[in-house]
Every structure is written in C-alpha cells, then in structure tokens.
C-alpha cells in the first residue's frame, strides 16, 4: 500500500516558562487504506498526536508529509484548505452545530471549502445520510437527534469532501453498547468500501481489537505498534488491556511484535 502519512521526529512542547513535553520525537508511517487504533492512557499524548496529524495543531519540531507534501510548511489558511480537502473528523461529543439541520451539518465542510453547496454535493450529502442510516432525520435540528444518530451524522459530515483520512477521537466513547457496535461496524465498512484511511483514538478494547493496526502511545512516545491479526485473540485481548492490568499479568503477556 502507498504511504499516505509520514511523521518524522514529531516533538510537541507546551508552555514557555513551565514546559511540558507532550510528544518526544514520534516517527510513524501510515499506508493509505489502513485502519489504525491509537491507544494509550490519559495524558499519554495520543490526543496531541491526533491533533497534529489532523493539522489542528502544529508540532514544536518535526515534519509531517501527506502524499509526500510537507503540510506544516503551509500557512494557517493553507492548512485549513488542506484540512477540508484531505481530512474528515469524527469527535467523541459529535460536535454537530445545533443551529443547523443534520443535512446542513453534513454539508458544512463542503460549504467551508467551496462557499456554496452544489447540487452534486447535496446529492452526496443525502446519499451519505442514507448510507449511515439517518436519512429519515436529515431535516431535524441536531439537538433533536439521539447520541447514536448524531454520531452517524458526524460520520457523514466527515465523508462529504471525500477525504483520504478520517480521524476519529473516541467515536463510540459517548454511546450505549448497541449504538457503539453499530458505529464501529459502520466505520469499518466505510474503510473497506472507500479505502479511506482511519486513525481512531479509543479506550475501547473492542474497537482496538477490530483494527488492522494498534499504536500505543505512552509518555509521549510509541510504546508498541502491532497488528492484532498477528497474535491469537487471547494475546491481542491481553495486549489491549489497560496498562495497570497488564503490569499485574505481565507473566502471560507475550511482547507484541513491533514494526520498524
């Protein structure tokens, strides 16, 4: 698979007088079409990494190439344009705009990029809403949708500009089990059908276990980077356990294979 994203020595330091290092030199390569989970404890730096890959934040040092292009060389407006064309976001708290209907929310990234919605874009928005299963609610204000429905709309919104990469921050974090399963399946389906690359930040072992690849961040660095398919289900399950459990059961934990 062709390389979509290449991170090299990404360092992020917050603060000027009291400095906190959130990321200490992360290098990472993501091929196009890969479905990757990003896991790690709270404060490990995984959200910071997601924001940098999403170009919402700039690294203190290091480069990111997307399709070979050094994106942080762009100015803020250039980044915004790049973001709207290339990246779709799905957030934990859905983050729909309550002033707009589901349909309008889906079209927002298109309008942000092109000014007005074309007939083709509107058709795509309708198709996407149908695809995620909320076409019957498309004219509802987002405040009149359930949590699961809002997240489906958010996924449709992330897809409207046909991005190469979708970044999802705890997409199932705020949902009940049933909705959570449905969303998980939906994201995977989109990945398989469209070949869209996914990077999903999650605390949910079920989500991580279903990914092609799992990257675990700890203390600002990559702790492990492995493919669940390479181990037995039990091994994978154990590897995805919260760190504190893992330390107790370290006897039965075979180190996961780390990719170069």
């Amino acid at each position: 698979m062709a390389e979509l994203i290449a991170l090299r020595d990404i360092v992020k330091v917050y603060g000027t007088t009291v400095q906190t290092t959130a990321l200490r030199g992360i290098s990472l390569s993501m091929p196009a079409g890969e479905y990757t989970a990003l896991i790690g404890r709270s404060g490990s730096g995984k959200s910071t990494l997601l924001h940098i890959i999403g170009t919402l934040d700039r690294p203190t040092s290091g480069t990111m190439r997307v399709d070979g292009r050094d994106v942080f060389a762009l100015d803020d407006d250039g980044l915004a344009a790049f973001r709207s064309r290339t990246i779709g976001f799905v957030f934990q708290f859905h983050h729909l705009l309550p002033e707009f209907t589901a349909f309008e929310n889906v079209l927002l990234p298109f309008r942000a990029a092109h000014g007005r919605a074309t007939a083709a874009a509107e058709k795509r928005a309708r198709n996407l809403l149908e695809r995620v299963g909320v076409s019957d609610r498309m004219n509802n204000k987002s405040t009149n949708l359930s949590g699961g429905q809002q997240q489906r709309v958010a996924i449709a919104r992330a897809l409207i500009n046909e991005p190469r990469l979708i970044l999802a921050d705890e997409p199932t974090g705020n949902l009940d089990t049933e909705s959570s399963e449905a969303i998980k399946a939906l994201l995977r389906e989109i990945n398989r059908e469209n070949g869209t690359t996914f990077l999903i930040v999650t605390h949910d072992r079920h989500v991580a276990a279903g990914c092609d690849r799992v990257i675990e961040i700890d203390d600002g660095g990559i702790l492990r980077d492995f493919r669940p398919a390479d181990g037995t289900p039990d091994e994978t399950w154990a590897a995805l356990a919260p760190c504190e459990c893992r330390e107790r059961r370290s006897g039965d934990l075979r180190p996961a294979p780390t990719r170069p």
Binding site: S47, H51, G54, L56, D57, D76, D77, A80, A81, R83, S84, R85, F89, F91, Q92, F93, H95, L96, L97, P98, E99, F100, L108, P109, R111, A112, A113, G115, R116, R157, N161, D169
Partner: protein
C-alpha cells in the same frame, strides 16, 4: 458565501438575543430619526415664518448719520437743530441699472424694485404714521404672498388705488371703497381709494403698510423715478449671507442686508438647538454601537464550540471573523431600517395628535437623513463587531474539541 450563510443562521437561531438587540437598535434609531426630523421641521418652519414671505436680501441707501448744524454748547447757549434725515427720502443711485444687472445674474428668484417712504394717513380727527410702499404688484405678491391673504376687495391698485392692512382699516373704521388722505413729511398730500384689505399675519405690517403703484410713490416723494429699496429672494434661504457679501463687493453704493444679519439671534438659537440635537443623536448611536458590540462579544463566547468545529472542518480564519462582522452589519442595517420606519410612525402619531393645534408645523423624514441613519448604523454595527470577530478568529479549535 459560507460566512453569510452561517452569520444569518446564527442570528436566526439566537432568537431572543437577536430580538433583544434589534429592539434596542430600533428604539435608538427611532428616537434619533424622530428627534432629528422634529428639529429640522421646527427649524424650517421657523425659518419659513421668518423669511418665507419676506425678502432674503434688502438693498437700501446707506443710513445718513443724524447731524447737527452747530454742535450744542451750553456755555454760549447756542440753539442747535439736529437733522435726523427722518422723513426725507433719497433714492438709490442707479437703482434701475443695478436691477437690470441683478436680473442678468439669474440667481435671484424675485427681484423687487421698491420705492418707500414714511407718511401719514389722515382720517377724521386721526393721524396715523404709515409706510407707503410702491412696487409692481405681481412681484410683491411673489415675495409677500399678498393676493392669497387679501381679506376684502381686489388685488389691484391702478393710479390712485391702495391696499391697506386689515388692522389699519379697523382702527380707522374704513373699508373697501373708502377714500383716504395720505400726506408726506414734505407736506405733499393726496387722496386715494381703498381697493383691498390684506392680512399679512403681522400686526405691525397690518397697521402701517399701504401698498400702491411704484410711480405713485415715486412722484409723491419726488424721487424722480428713483428706487429706495431693492428686495431679493433666492432659491435657498441659507445662501443669502454669502450672496449679500458678493453684492456688497459688486454694488458698494447700496447697503445690502441679508435676513441672516437682521435675525442673528434667531440663527444662534437654531444653531445651538442643532448642536444639542446632534449631541443627543451621537450618544444614541454610541449606545447602539456598544449594544451590538456587547451582544456579539457574548455570542462569540456562547458559540465557541461552533467556531471550533467550523475551524476544524476547514473554515478559513478570516471567514470565521467575517461571520461576526456580517452579524454586526446585519443587526445595524436591519435595526436601523426598522428604526427609521418606527421613527416615521412616531412622527405620524405626533402629527395626528397635534393636527388640531394651529401652531403645529409639518415634520417629514427626509430620505437623505433616513439613508444616512441607516448607513451610519450599519457602519457602527460593522465596527462594533471588530473586537468580537478578532476574538472568534483567534479561537483555538483544539480547546473546544478536547473539552467537548
């Protein structure tokens, strides 16, 4: 396009807040428009009453200083006689030439050559001082609007006919058709027939003015076809002083006085009235601007989540800022438009309430003033949005996304 779309939606969905600030702007602008129209209406009515039916510029012969033949001296017990020139009438030199030249200028709408002198009306036992005015009747009508205000008789004088004020007629118990005797200080006198009575809504005029033909006054006062006054009216009353200055330079032998010069205290009053009205309007506008600014500042905080998402999905920083500038401009424009309408409504109500009052004066909203109000309020709204918009465009989307 996108920024306009989002701005309008934010305004529409922020119903209560939008309505509240709109009401504030509407009230402010309504008061501003009402006040402005009231002052303008009052002032133009005052000016119209002062000079509407009066000359804007009057040219006369320069005053002759009263002079004594010998200076009075108590030591030598000199008997001195002071010549005041009162009653003696001297014509303007080259009056006809000046009138001809003024007509060529084409600037003045009315040019009225007048011969005037003080005299007396003798009726039975009574002798009353009067002012004998000789001029072309048509011209006099255009200047003083007399024909319409004739209360009896015909608007014509002929050779020996006169028009007199209704108050003078009442005093002397005379009416249309009566014969009156008029005399000059020089001792000449003659008989005249009263052709009509007028009411120029000014007691002094109604009691003293006697209108007759120009040649009749000229011969009565032995003016040898000379003029004593040239009365002028221009299109715009407020150009009078400027024009008078030109005339003073062009025709120095005549003493030119503008209505502005003779009504200086009225003008001062009008000016201070105007400046206090401008002051009030300025503060109204200032509070409208501050109102818009504070509502938008609150809105930026309330909508920080939305701003963060808009930025995350690729909205350019300058478009985010513009969303709030557009809201400010729309609030200013819409509010002032409705405010002008409300102000106009207030004026109509005010007029209706006062229609029975004879001292009421017409007020109207000038289109220019209304457009200016809308323009200034829209600009103020845009300006008010400046700080909130800068704050919105600086908002970091990560803060919002991280904290939900």
């Amino acid at each position: 396009m996108f920024d306009v779309f989002v701005a309008f939606r934010f305004l529409r969905e922020g119903r209560a807040q939008t309505l509240l600030i709109l009401t504030g702007i509407i009230l402010g602008i309504a008061v501003q428009v009402f006040l402005n129209s009231l002052i303008v209406g009052l002032q133009s009515s005052l000016v119209a009453r002062t000079v509407g039916s009066a000359p804007h510029i009057t040219g006369t012969i320069p005053d002759l200083e009263p002079s004594a033949v010998l200076p009075p001296d108590p030591e030598t017990r000199t008997i001195s006689r002071v010549i005041t020139n009162e009653g003696s009438v001297k014509p303007i030199r080259d009056g006809d030439t000046i009138v001809a030249q003024l007509e060529k200028l084409g600037f003045f709408t009315v040019i009225l050559p007048v011969a005037r002198g003080s005299g007396f009306i003798l009726q039975g036992q009574k002798t009353l001082p009067v002012s004998l005015r000789g001029s072309d009747l048509e011209g006099a009508d255009r200047l003083y609007d007399i024909r319409r205000r004739l209360t009896a008789g015909r608007y014509e004088v002929g050779a020996d006919g006169v028009l007199i004020g209704k108050d003078l007629a009442a005093k002397l118990r005379i009416s249309v058709g009566s014969t009156i005797r008029l005399s000059t200080p020089g001792g000449d006198d003659d008989l005249f027939r009263v052709n009509g009575l007028f009411d120029l809504e000014n007691q002094a005029v109604n009691e003293t003015w006697i209108l007759m033909s120009l040649p009749r006054v000229q011969s009565l006062f032995r003016l040898d076809r000379g003029l004593t006054e040239i009365e002028l009216q221009a299109e715009d009353v407020f150009t009078a002083e400027r024009k008078a200055a030109d005339l003073r330079a062009g025709f120095p032998s005549v003493r030119w006085r503008s209505w502005e010069e003779t009504n200086a205290s009225l003008l001062t009053a009008l000016q201070s009235q105007s400046s206090s009205s401008y002051m009030i309007q300025l503060f109204v506008l200032l509070s409208v601007t501050l109102g818009i600014a504070s509502v938008l500042a609150v809105s930026v905080v309330q909508k920080s989540r939305q701003i963060g998402i808009l930025k995350a999905v690729g909205t350019l920083t300058r478009h985010v800022g513009r969303i709030f500038v557009i809201q400010g401009a729309v609030l200013g424009f819409l509010g002032s438009l409705l405010g002008v309408a409300a102000g106009w409504g207030l004026i109509l109500m005010f007029q209706a309430a006062r229609s029975a009052d004879p001292s009421s004066f017409p007020i109207s909203v000038s289109f220019g003033a209304a457009a200016l109000s809308v323009g200034v309020a829209t600009a103020a709204g845009t300006l008010a949005a400046f700080l909130p918009s800068r704050r919105a465009s600086r908002l970091n989307p990560i803060e919002v996304i991280r904290n939900g």
